[in-house]
């Protein structure tokens, strides 16, 4: 009889943790997806800045506006408790994000501003995009410095 109780409790705990893992895995996927969209569009803009891709105002604007699009996603629901490096595999999100949420959101706002600046710069040619890329790089690494685990 006791054994049964243990088995049921164990199964419930197992299910519970599986359910929990499934819950945060959606958020983690969404977080990583938005970063990949940012990287793909920075690939276009960075290619233009480096002179590897010929400048074209429309292409540049589409890429920059995609960055702005990502900047409009509400980050709140994506960074749920229990989805940091201490709790789950497959993330580089440091616990510092939850220990210092205001600092983290401040850094995100720097990305929002850099994306808006990129959208302004996109129509103004290679040099303007190059300068905006440096500010964008600054916002990326200042957040990754504090809140993302190194490889």
């Amino acid at each position: 009889m006791k054994l049964w109780k243990f088995a049921i409790a164990g199964a419930a705990m197992g299910l519970g943790s599986v359910a929990l893992a499934q819950d945060v895995s959606k958020q983690v996927k969404a977080r990583q997806g938005q970063m990949q969209i940012v990287a793909m569009n920075l690939g276009v803009l960075g290619g233009i800045a480096k002179g590897e891709i010929a400048y074209d105002a429309e292409t540049a604007q589409r890429a920059a506006d995609s960055l702005v699009g990502i900047s409009m996603i509400d980050q709140g629901p994506l960074w749920v408790e229990g989805s940091d490096t201490m709790s789950i595999e497959g993330t580089r999100a440091l616990p510092a994000i939850w220990d210092n949420t205001s600092g983290f959101m401040e850094d995100w706002q720097a990305y929002v501003a850099a994306a808006a600046a990129m959208s302004e710069a996109a129509g103004q040619g290679q040099e303007a995009i190059g300068a905006a890329m440096r500010d964008m790089g600054g916002s990326c690494k200042s957040c990754h410095d504090d809140f993302r685990e190194t490889n």
Binding site: V38, A39, M40, L42, G43, G46, K50, M133, R134, M136, G137, G138, C140, K141, S142, H144, D145, R148, E149, T150, N151
Partner: protein
């Protein structure tokens, strides 16, 4: 028998005396910096390339040039705490002479004639041009002062005996270049920046049992000293970025996949972003000239 014992005793004494002599602090010769006038403007470039502020600003400091110290550097031998090296005359190093500064930077010897721990990368700075040291010291006088007291290192016995560091220096500090052979002027400039100033090898090269850099596996990547993660290899067997990719990474922090730098490399890129495009290209040329590491 007694004679044999006394011979052995004498030999032990001689050996001990030799080691004691070998471990002595060796500041620069008294006339090493004679006649050198510092150029503060160029000193700023040396300061950025040498990465002084990357380790010596306070953690979370807003002013990146306020060298108040306090960052912690864990290692197998204890935890080192970066001291205040701002030009404050009491709390910092403002009352030093150029000779004292040069001996600290290039020889790892303090004005009190004691060894510094090699967490301070004097093994790299030993390769510096003395003119650059003079320029750096001229620039130093323009930096803001902090009255923050330096915290002691957390290092246990036997590593707390600083005299022993003299033996470490005798074994492992070599002012010759690691990358030998015929180099283009650009690669030579890159080598100077990477091996003497930016001390890339301190993190990117694996270490031996005594904390010495394994020069046979130069820039072959190493465990992150923080204990988590890995510092990437820069050698051609691992890093396939183009020279342009490397230079752009040092300017913007973007990898060729438009991921961004993180960790301590962020501070390095903050410095390199302010250097000239030629210097970034030179470092890229140096990285592309690295050899594959010797076998494990």
């Amino acid at each position: 028998m007694r004679r044999i014992l006394s011979i052995v005793g004498l030999a032990v004494l001689v050996a001990a005396g030799f080691l004691f002599w070998l471990s002595r602090p060796q500041p620069l010769p008294a006339d090493a910096m004679a006649g050198l006038e510092g150029d503060a403007e160029h000193g700023r470039q040396v300061y950025l390339a040498a990465g002084c502020r990357s380790c010596h600003t306070a953690p979370e400091s807003e002013d990146k040039d306020l060298l108040a110290g306090g960052q912690r550097f864990p290692s197998d031998f204890g935890t080192f705490l970066a001291p205040n090296i701002s030009p404050h005359p009491e709390a910092g190093i403002g009352d030093w002479s150029l000779d004292q500064f040069a001996s600290a930077v290039m020889r790892g010897v303090s004005p009190e004639n004691r060894h510094y721990y090699p967490a301070f990368p004097y093994a790299a700075y030993a390769r510096m041009d003395r003119q650059d040291v003079a320029d750096l010291w001229a620039y130093w006088q323009t930096l803001p002062q902090s009255d923050q007291a330096s915290a002691p290192h957390e290092v246990g016995f036997p590593f707390s005996i600083r005299r022993g560091l003299g033996l470490w220096k005798a074994m492992f500090v070599d002012p010759d270049w690691v990358m030998a052979g015929d180099l283009s002027p650009e690669e030579e400039r890159g080598r100077y920046l990477a091996e003497a100033l930016a001390h890339c090898g301190e993190c990117h090269t694996p270490r031996g049992a005594l904390g010495n850099l394994d020069t046979a596996r130069w820039m072959a990547g190493a465990p992150d000293p923080s204990g988590k993660g890995q510092i990437p290899a820069l050698t051609p067997d691992k890093l396939d970025w183009s020279a342009g990719d490397i230079a752009y990474y040092l300017e913007s922090g973007f990898t060729p996949d438009y991921d961004s730098a993180g960790g301590h490399m962020v501070a390095v890129i903050d410095n390199f972003a302010e250097l000239s495009p030629e210097d970034r290209t030179a470092v890229a040329a140096y990285v592309k000239a690295l050899s594959e590491p010797a076998g494990e």
